[in-house]
Point group: D4
Chain length 217, copies 8
């Protein structure tokens, strides 16, 4: 057997298991999707390249592939907005868009209202200050940035809401595939910024959704 | 001049600036505390060693030094509980206690109810399962662990609330001063775990407080 | 001459030399296999890609290529089960399957009974607890996991038998091609877990076979 | 509370929890030892420096401190030899002795017959060949080496029994505190060598004990 | 002989050789200073700790030791301001002061007008915007920052003059002794920021002086 | 929207925003160029591969692609020489040419006179000494080198003008994609050498242009 | 101009400049070869892939391409054996052959008698001991090994002649492209082993040639 | 037993075993020296700190401790010059002296004529050119340098004899305890430079002695 699905996750955490497409074969994923559909679950696959997406669409034409976010989604049960506030996804440069879109797509699948703010990196910081109202209107802010990853520190100092930083592998040389941005974010002098893995838009959205559906128990 | 305090932070973010004691001299900190007291602010110093603490206590006997958490706090205005739910600080081993206590102290200073759960590492996992109710009662869970840093993944899979992982520098050899735990947490297969810097109990508490005071705007 | 085979190994260690296919040409391997067949030895090639496998199969149609494990085996002398107990190969996720299968194939070639347990990663830990009996029935447990590599710590705490951890390169970003999992395993808080190289299912099986054929001298 | 002992470990794994002394205070350890004595358990503390050892001996004069191995042991119930064969601890140079002794001490506490072979590094390889009989008489071989860590590869090629490699932090410059030896061992061309953390004599002994008490279930 | 002074440097580059005090003995430095005095040169020693400074002052009471900058200077020939404009040294936090002061001291010794701006890190970015006029009045800006090292990117986007970034080792955990800040600065999205070694206030000042004395040949 | 151009940069810094082509799609760049043309700005794209260049040339035949420098430039307003002196771009080996050419192209676009000196690495140092006059005639020297990156130290000791070092990824093995050269340059014993990111000819040229247009305010 | 050949090298060092083919275009190399032929120099290109080799052979059919060593040589002046003794190139495994052949080819071009010994890695150490006479007959020994790189330590302990170690990138996972072997060799406990860059067969041969042509001045 | 001396080394390699003092206790070394004296061997201890040296001198007053080289030598049999030519030890800065002296002391003990050239780093390269005759008179050149480690490349290009590069840990920040210098030397563009471990003056001297006593077999 190739997989042992965590069908119980919907109950424990309010969201079904997501499929990380990167190192699975199309055939493995088709098998897993079949099992999820039998359980009446919505399906989200991330990090899916175009070739495998085509094979999944051939099998499940009711699914949708977003080639920028590299996500495949198949919605059997309409998604209800259950998040309390708005999740804002900010990104530093045009090149960070795929990661930002993965975050936005995932957050929407998890029942949240999402807004996006693009290309407001710190080298032209007036672009950020022009949008202070938007920044402060969000319940959670996801900040996506590559290169030196300075944007979350600046935003973390401007808003009072939770800030989740996503380093991206955008850059070259001493960016070391996102390490520079990752370290920058982990060492943020703006207290209360938390960090996820490099290029992990999906994980940032999951964390934001946990925060946004949180009650005071 | 040696410092330019961000007095505006209380307004922007509901909490005064905290002093990172590690690389400041006692004299610098005494000066900064004086400026904060003039502004009628509460004071929290983190990463303060015993020698410098003694100098601060000599100057400000109304302050309190916690030698395990290595924090100095001086409360002029009684702290009100403004956090919506309970923040739970869990740690994997006895050796992780200083970081866990820094997190707990900071969260309390920021107006939150805090509970602690100690020495429930994954090598004897029944210890964790005995406390599932406590784990699920928290609004936010801070998980502190060194060595392989596996605890946040397990807890992240058991609760639906936000989980903030704090790697510690506990370990030796290939723990590389906390890198092993840090990487483990960044690569957590439990979706929605976010991470702060190694030994950064303070930052985890700030993030938890942001989450716990969050409204839906 | 291109190779100097260690024909003496069968005698010293009870198993013939294995061919690491990764950086050899098909022609080199065909030559080496010929030499082994002349010595009446069974043949195992690991890390063999499909192209080279085709060339080997053209030359030696009596061989078998397993495209998931990426192994080529040619059995001249039927394999006898000489291992004392059962070797259990556990893997954390579907993506770790190739490494797990390499371990299982190798262990079988070395004369052991092998069982496999797939996709029981720590984020849905009930899946593991459902199989405690199987885990405790094994003489040796090989645990294969990528990302944060936490599974061997949990299993190491649940069983009394030897546990061999195999980190895999599954993951992205700060998994650094398996470093995160490797470090997690080296720092396991479950005492008595030993570790092999990243993706080294072969080596784990060899170690398990040494253990499983061990007598008290 | 400062600790949550895994009293169940003796049952699950045939050995009580061991105390890692490195980052605990003497007072914390005295408390933990008290709890273990109440449970009628033998006590082993590792990585204990001389100062803390003195405090423990003052409290528990029936304990024994080995200043080379840096272990403290307190034996309430005489140790029975339950291991099936002999565990041989080999070390490459005089400077690796403390780690080798930690391994030997731990293996003895876990009920094994132990022998030691010292200073047989690969630069004078005849020293090793003079002792082939001893090497081949062991049920498990623990090989401790710093600098380039080549010894386990050579021994792994000479014996058929399980070989556990322990890299040490002995060396300077590009030994990087044991990384060179660790990598050497993980990449051993002798198949079936497994590795533990740098300087982790304790862990190697635990693994050897698991192997040596193993039955075929 | 212990040193071969580059007496020709004053001619080639308009400034005498500077003594890097860190790994020299006091006796070695006293000898070198004697040789420089014989050549009628001014003397600057950097990275000098208090103990060695005392020995140098005992020998050369006409020298001056700055315990924050850790510099010793002995001025035989009054320093003339030869730099064309003002060099501004900005630092992100109070803890970065020693490096900032080393830069300022060095720049002054090299004949430049110097101004300092302290504790204007990006987490409270209004502090920086309050001083835009000062920032834009400088001929060269040296920006000193630890932790995530984001300040040079923000300043680099605000001014048109050359910006030299100095990462500091201030921080802990994943700041890795200044690597996080160094990488952040090397990957700055503000084009035209150049970088010197971690904590190298001296080097930044030398570069600034080269720029500030530059003519169009 | 995919981009938020910093149109204000020309005013703040005397040069328009440049497009980093590496991780943008051709369509994204065509859109961005259109926006810049509407603002009457000159256009420079760096790190553009041949395929995308063809798409841009199809859309904007008035542009020019330099396949060695991998730059695309489109000049609407003739470039005036505004730099005060000459910028000299030196490179150590033939293999460093693409980075050197990127620097030269960029410096020219920014209004500077540029000269190039090629293949004068330190292993045949007489080649450098033959050109001392040229080296000393420059207002700013950009030094491009891979492998051990020693050239900037030698040149930094020979000239009095500002030296900007650009490490390249030329080399193999322990050059680690330019890390060896980068570290060499950061640790230069020639005081006053500053460094940019690996392969960042563009950034070096921007810094040189800042220096070369600098006035004493 | 694209190159500034060091024609003087033959005089200074008794051998012409060699062309590192890896990051040069075929056209660049054809130009450089032309310049060398005009100077009546023999030509050696290393790290040349098959495609570029074809272009060079088309232009210079008198040249010879060795596809295993990846070298192109063009001999105008017959090579005389000027080396005093024999250079022995030993390699640990079949996969290390390309690097070993590059070393052998280069050493021959530099006027040395060369012998090769293949596939005598330390896991089957009797293979090495069978050839002690050969090992001890060499004036210089070049030892090529990947994975843990232990072979030079063993050989360094067996012979009295100079031993040059060449780490190769053969291996996977924690071999990190040859870092494990490199570190192993740098930390060799056999005193007097020196090391060159990963995969640098060429450099090892140059060093061996320097040693072998050495006189006592 | 604590040591197994390689008494056979004098025969195999013409020099007795040397004692690496760094991680041995004084008592261990006294025991080892006693064993060597009984064998009528000369004694060399390296990396010996002042405290342990005092204990050794108390026991063996006929020994000599060199506090700069940190070596202890005890000569029972007068040393004969058996090396063919002169070994020249060059160092880049005053701070590199201890490593240079360790190399010189060791080379002398091994029967070689040694000369030293100090403080001729590449930032003032005329100092090196003033000594070309000396450089070219040596049979082997050992080049010791910290920081960027550029000196061996320059010298390697100037002489035809073998060049052994020793990186030192002199420097700070991104010198990473000698890594920058080590990488610089491994990537030297001067062909035929070989490298030893960071600060390993001893190993460089052993290699130089092997070269210098070499005959053509
Ligand atoms: N020398 C050692 N190296 C690694 N792990 C150890 C060592 N000694 C004890 N341990 C483990 O560390 C755990 C103790 O962690 P803690 O809860 O912090 O006391 C024990 O369960 C032991 O299995
Ligand atoms: N400074 C040094 N650096 C590296 N290796 C050394 C040094 N001094 C002595 N050695 C080697 O270290 C070995 C001693 O290791 P051990 O068995 O621990 O005494 C000797 O055989 C020497 O060849
Ligand atoms: N333990 C801590 N870890 C990380 N950051 C801290 C810590 N304590 C305080 N800080 C932050 O560090 C900043 C102080 O930097 P400085 O200007 O150098 O005083 C404060 O604004 C805090 O937000
Ligand atoms: N703080 C510093 N950081 C880096 N380099 C320095 C510093 N102070 C002095 N130097 C340089 O280090 C060189 C001294 O090296 P040495 O020959 O060992 O004295 C001088 O030529 C200075 O240019
Ligand atoms: Mg942009
Ligand atoms: Mg515990
Ligand atoms: Mg799964
Ligand atoms: Mg020894
Ligand atoms: Mg501050
Ligand atoms: Mg060249
Ligand atoms: Mg082989
Ligand atoms: Mg000097």
């Amino acid at each position: 057997d190739i997989a042992c699905l965590d069908h119980h996750r919907q109950l424990r955490q309010g969201a079904p298991e997501t499929i990380l497409g990167a190192s699975k074969t199309a055939i493995q994923m088709i098998t897993i999707v079949a099992a999820m559909l039998r359980r009446d679950s919505n399906v989200l696959i991330t990090r899916l390249d175009e070739d495998k997406a085509a094979q999944l669409l051939a099998e499940y034409p009711q699914g949708v592939y977003d080639s920028e976010a590299r996500t495949f989604s198949l919605i059997q049960n309409p998604i209800e907005i259950t998040g309390l506030g708005k999740i804002l996804v900010v990104c530093a440069g045009t090149s960070d868009l795929p990661v930002a879109r993965e975050a936005a797509e995932t957050a929407r699948m998890l029942g949240n209202e999402v807004e996006e703010l693009v290309d407001v990196g710190v080298a032209g910081i007036h672009r950020l200050f022009d949008r202070l109202d938007l920044l402060r209107s969000a319940a959670v802010v996801i900040v996506v940035a590559g290169m030196e990853g300075a944007l979350p520190s600046v935003i973390g100092g401007l808003v009072a809401s939770p800030v989740i930083a996503v380093p991206t592998s955008v850059g070259y040389g001493a960016s070391f595939g996102g390490i520079a941005a990752l370290l920058g974010m982990l060492n943020s002098c703006a207290s209360g910024v938390t960090v996820v893995n490099i290029d992990n838009g999906f994980g940032a959205a999951c964390a934001a959704a946990r925060i946004n559906r949180r009650n005071s128990s």
